[in-house]
Symmetry: C2
């Protein structure tokens, strides 16, 4: 048998190929279910979200939930990972786009605010998780710290580039500025959760940008 006979006819990277699974077909799409779970966890936090709530929101009954995602903690972690992937994707473009530093920062914060305020002020899931679960669960803590680190690094890269392009004074320290930029992310994440209106949050952001760029 020189030639593989069952090769499928040149689907690109065969992503949406129905793979002819064997047993009863799933009644849900794991991705949208995970999205619903994330919504709930973001709204109420880990402890206040019951499996019944999750079951109702996803349309899956508890055994199915369990089979698909593991126990509550695993589901939380998978939801969190999903959040981070989404947030990272949303940020990626705007971070990549090498606009003048001021414009760049403005856009970054605008995207962040979109995330924090969408469908009710949900805040930043990383911050929420840090405040609650990260203390007790080492795995979750590691993810949270990774999130903070990534953000710091991304901001630092922005400031380094800006400095290199002469948009920043020579005495400016990209690392320090990055931490301040992250701090500004954190403060709007928290305040948004306490339902501070977007206008005020934007004012905070603009003030912070002014100070950072003048430094």
């Amino acid at each position: 048998m020189v030639q593989k006979s069952k090769r499928p006819p040149v689907t690109k990277i065969d992503a949406p190929v129905p793979p002819k699974r064997r047993g009863r077909p799933r009644a849900y799409e794991p991705d949208v279910a995970l999205g619903k779970a994330l919504e709930l966890f973001r709204k109420d936090g880990f402890a206040a979200t019951s499996l019944d709530d999750l079951s109702a929101a996803t349309g899956m009954n508890r055994p199915s939930l369990y089979g698909a995602f593991g126990d509550k903690r695993e589901l939380f972690i998978k939801s969190y990972r999903r959040y981070r992937d989404d947030a990272r994707a949303a940020m990626a473009d705007v971070f990549r786009n090498e606009l003048p530093i001021r414009k760049r920062l403005e856009r970054i914060y605008a995207v962040a605010l979109d995330i924090y305020l969408e469908s009710g002020p949900r805040g930043c899931f990383t911050v929420m998780t840090a405040a609650s679960e990260a203390v007790h669960d080492p795995d979750i803590r590691a993810m949270v710290l990774e999130g903070f680190g990534e953000l710091d690094k991304a901001f630092a890269a922005c400031f380094r580039l800006a400095k290199q392009k002469g948009e920043l004074s020579g005495s400016a320290d990209p690392t320090v500025l990055a931490q301040l930029a992250s701090a500004t992310i954190h403060t709007i994440a928290i305040r948004s959760r306490a339902q501070v209106p977007r206008k005020e949050l934007e004012a905070i952001v603009n003030g912070a940008i002014d100070v950072m760029l003048r430094a």
Copy 2:
């Protein structure tokens, strides 16, 4: 009756006067019980702290707890109020002390870090509460917002004074700087909760102070 006859014999403000209560004496001191409750809430958050936990920690059984502080939510609110009172008291001195601005900020952040890191990294209760309960409970949200507002105002007063004393450039905006100072509080509160070591938090603080004072 010119002279009040039943005036008590000059106890200063009769604080530790046993008031001869009528029934069975309490087996606990409400203040220390509330302190224990606060400890628990700070460690685990509202939802993950059960009345049994609180009962065990305070030494009061559930009905006594209930009688003394009301239901779980009320107990949480009273614990939170206690936290705010304590934190405010701790900050009051250092905020009042009109040192040169840099020294003053350093001390403020040192006190904050003491609070956030005492007995395990507990973070800032206001930030924790904002992240979880403030979304759903208007009363709690009001307290949280009040907390943020107070902090912003206290920092603003610092910067106003500093500017007046010529320690700050004329272009510096005390309100904006105050929000950045609060943001720095928030970022170390969150990061401390994720167990970032004190050294790193102090580095963040020092960098932030540098930028704020150079602005």
